[in-house]
């Protein structure tokens, strides 16, 4: 089982009367791309939030690299190299693209005296390189709050890469992205996985995207695990089809 990086066992989470996750069990394999789908409100973001320590869970266990993390605060989990992007995107709107990148340098690798240094040439080069990678190099000097939603998503993705995570949870990375750019983004996500060696766990509404990328897909419905399997198995699973049809 050493090739499992995130191990979620029987996790439940409710908000008042709303049971957002019920006994969810799933595994994310080291080095791969795992997908998480489900109709609106099925509890996908809630599960991500539980994994990264955003809120305490009601029951169950979450392990990262073999260690229990369900009681750790957000920052400590982030410093272990498990990072997330937000569905609503969170960037520093008042800063420009470069500043957003520089602030995302991995602080887990920084001692206090490192923090008291100014940014190095390498830091700037890395920032430029990753901005180029997501296609935002031209916009790097602009105030990030002025970028479009899709561009902000790309910036947030680049910021996450700057942080050098071992595992990255992406909450709907293609939402709001110009459809003509989606193929390019799929390509970049795959390259982040293969070239940078980052394990990806991706929530996605766009079926074409997720079927194209993921090796394993989990499907949630009403907070419970409905199905799991390869893209082919999921696509042909009658329960999944019904859940999506029923939701619309």
């Amino acid at each position: 089982m050493s090739d499992i990086i995130i191990n979620v066992q029987n996790v439940s989470k409710s908000f008042g009367g709303v049971q957002a996750n019920t006994n969810v069990t799933m595994q994310v394999e080291t080095g791969g791309i795992t997908g998480l789908i489900g109709p609106n409100g099925s509890g996908k973001t809630t599960l991500f939030n539980s994994i990264v320590g955003y809120h305490p869970i009601d029951g169950g266990s979450i392990q990262f690299e073999g260690q229990e993390i369900s009681k750790l605060p957000v920052q400590q989990i982030a410093r272990r190299g498990l990072l997330r992007t937000f569905q609503q995107t969170r960037i520093y709107g008042a800063m420009n693209g470069i500043e957003n990148m520089l602030i995302s340098l991995p602080h887990r690798k920084m001692k206090i005296w490192d923090a008291l240094k100014t940014y190095t040439r390498e830091d700037y080069e890395r920032a430029d390189h990753l901005l180029e990678f997501v296609g935002l190099y031209e916009k790097r000097m602009l105030k990030s709050g002025d970028l479009s939603f899709g561009q902000q998503k790309l910036l947030e993705f680049a910021m996450a890469l700057m942080n050098e995570p071992t595992c990255l949870l992406l909450d709907e990375p293609t939402a709001g992205i110009n459809p003509t750019l989606i193929n390019g983004l799929i390509d970049r996500l795959k390259r982040a996985n293969t070239e940078f060696g980052i394990t990806l766990f991706v929530i996605e509404h766009n079926m074409r995207v997720i079927m194209n990328m993921a090796e394993t897909i989990y499907c949630l419905a009403h907070g419970e695990l409905l199905a799991q399997g390869t893209p082919d198995e999921i696509q042909n699973d009658q329960r999944v089809i019904d859940a999506y049809l029923g939701a619309h």
Binding site: Q75, L83, L116, L142, K143
Partner: protein, 345 residues
């Protein structure tokens, strides 16, 4: 551009040196101006750069006064006996005792305030927005009350320190240069700090602390360090004030929440929050305004001051620097997307 800056800095430094000799009548006011600059710059370290608006920084000023006084007295006499006699003139200090006590007292005040900032910060940095402001204000008010009921340190009477051992005018210049030295150091320190990764991290905390957490930044640690740095300089300033004032008491001069405690915030708002020069400009404008109204509008000075605060907070929140940045973004290296600019226009 770089050359212009060097000239500007040189001019300011030259003025700093000449001012007390050129305007001897204003020696004390000029010293107070530096004090305002110090407390404004340090307030902005947490308030402007980190997004934590403390109303309790005056706590470090008052505590700095007491710590400096107690160290310098305690090195020579029994503190209880000394305060019991209210300083009483019987207690003599040699030059060495005076200056040695001042040096160690002021330095000790800064260090002590740094440590206390970490402790109080640990308890209060869980609070956000107005709760943090009120929480820290509470600390300052409580400290003032506690100290005024603590007889060992002079209670409500306060403490009288020895007088500067030289003639009065030299004394004024001496304190002016002490404040100026701390002021310049504070400015240079802030200028350096804001250019580091540390500076960027506290800006990130201000702009979106939750995101900073999610990126693995040691948010609490940075908040504590920042406040400790601010408290250090405020503590130094408090320590110098104690010797400059000679006699001080807890509520009106040390823990003066409604005077200096609020003024420092107004200075920063007036000059421009979250900028290096804003607090300096704000302190100068505020101090001028205050001196003028206190001299020419006596009886109405508090009304005028209140009006200034209201106008600043309601109509001029971004201050002088904010206004300039908005008006001339190119001067500050800010790029505006032509498209968005057209949309806004």
């Amino acid at each position: 551009m770089a050359k212009n800056k060097t000239i500007l800095y040189a001019a300011i430094l030259a003025f700093t040196f000449i001012a007390p000799f050129a305007f001897p009548a204003f020696g004390t006011q000029l010293a107070t101006l530096w004090l305002m600059i110090i407390v404004a710059l340090t307030w902005d370290m947490t308030g402007g750069q980190m997004g934590y608006n403390s109303l309790g920084n005056i706590f470090f000023y008052g505590t700095g006064m007491y710590v400096a006084a107690l160290i310098s007295i305690g090195m020579v006499y029994d503190i209880g006996d000394y305060t019991n006699a209210a300083g009483g003139g019987i207690y003599k200090f040699t030059d060495l005792q005076y200056f040695g006590g001042l040096a160690l007292g002021v330095l000790g005040a800064g260090l002590f305030c740094s440590v206390v900032a970490v402790v109080i910060g640990y308890l209060t940095f869980g609070l956000r927005g107005p709760y943090f402001a009120i929480g820290t204000l509470g600390v300052a008010i409580a400290a003032g009350e506690l100290v005024s009921n603590w007889d060992w340190v002079g209670g409500g009477q306060g403490i009288a320190l020895p007088v500067y051992p030289g003639d009065l005018d030299t004394g004024k210049i001496f304190f002016y240069f002490l404040f100026a030295a701390v002021g310049v150091s504070t400015f240079l320190f802030a200028k350096w700090l804001y250019g580091t990764r540390f500076g960027a991290a506290i800006n990130a905390i201000r702009d979106d602390e939750e995101k900073a957490d999610a990126m693995g930044i040691h948010t609490l640690r940075y908040k504590l360090y920042t406040w400790a740095m601010a408290a250090f300089f405020v503590g130094l300033a408090g320590g110098i004030s104690a010797f400059q004032l000679i006699h001080f008491e807890p509520l009106e001069s040390a823990y003066q929440t409604i005077n200096l405690g609020i003024f420092m915030v107004v200075c920063v708002l007036l000059g421009g929050k979250g900028t290096l020069w804003g607090p300096v400009i704000g302190a100068i404008l505020f101090h001028l305004f205050k001196e003028v109204t206190w001299n020419y509008l006596l009886g109405w000075q508090w009304v005028a001051l209140g009006a200034l605060i209201v106008v600043t907070v309601v109509y001029f929140q971004d201050g002088v620097m904010g206004y300039l940045m908005h008006r001339y973004p190119e001067l500050f290296g800010i790029k505006v997307d032509e498209k968005t600019r057209e949309e806004v226009a």
